[in-house]
Symmetry: C3
Subunit: 133 residues, 3 copies
């Protein structure tokens, strides 16, 4: 079963912590041991894992990506959002997280983030849980 979760992103670049939503899907699946595939069906938004404590980390990461891949970069694509495409490819479009004792086996400081690089938009995340009950 694949759960599809909707998110509204509030601005051009933002990292939304979706860990709780993913954890809910794991609970509803009643899978106790296995793994969870989290997937974004977009091309200018991605998924990553990173620190869930100081929100400055997310701001710094988004700024660092913006310096590595500037929005105005002499691109050919008519929509003007090529930087968002390469940023999404950099962070990736899926995460696979192990499940142990019915919970995501994240590290102590890890959260799962939907990374918006061309917002604000409506976005979707697919979550599918595999393993043994």
């Amino acid at each position: 079963m694949i759960q599809k979760i909707n998110f509204s992103t509030p601005k051009r670049d933002v990292m939304l912590d979706i860990t709780n939503k993913v954890e809910e899907c794991v609970k509803e699946s009643h899978i106790t041991s296995g793994y969870c595939i989290i997937y974004v069906p977009h091309t200018t938004a991605g998924l990553t894992i990173n620190e869930n404590a100081d929100p400055d980390v997310q701001a710094d990461m988004l700024n660092a990506l913006d310096r590595a891949y500037p929005w105005n970069g002499n691109y050919k694509h008519f929509e003007g959002n090529s930087a968002a495409h390469i940023k999404a490819t950099t962070v990736g479009f899926q995460q696979v997280v192990l499940i142990s004792e019915g919970r995501l086996l994240l590290g102590r400081w890890q959260g799962i983030y939907l990374c918006e690089f061309d917002g604000p938009r409506q976005r979707q995340v697919f979550v599918s849980v595999f393993g043994e009950k």
Copy 2:
């Protein structure tokens, strides 16, 4: 079962849309629900997902990677292709895509790309499908 598909890449940097080849593997597997692991066994080529419409996006992405990781960058590796190694690590070596109703559950604008960073070469992609028939 692991299918191995061969590709010839025509130049140093290129993104080849391999979506149809992967979709064929999914069909041949008769798996209707599950996921597909796509993997490249190389170190200077990678795999990503991105826009399947305007080819300018791919050109812009390759240029953006080239600016972030210039080919001539005071590298030590004797082969002179260290930029290709870090680009491949940036995009990644595998993609995991969910399968629903016997098809890859890609987003509307998503295609799967073999990313060549040190071509032209002969490359291989492994495709393996898991789930229920």
Copy 3:
């Protein structure tokens, strides 16, 4: 079953070849056909696959990441290690490698690397093997 392996990283930026440790987990699982999920529960260390021959490749890759994401980059995060966070997101936190005939189906030149970006530290890697015996 999830195996947890401990590593000590000797300096700030380093790539540790953990292929043999992962291969041992595959052997111990007695899985002959399937895949292996390798996962780091950290936010300033990641996992990648890359060349296992010339160690200059690893040095060049770490330097290239350092140029793309400089350590001193006008960051807000109080710990001062934001560059490590974005580098870890760039390489990724998990790798999924196919298994064939009881072995990791790596390419000839591929090794699996724990990427430390804020060492020296104690790090952990989770390895879980799925498939048929």
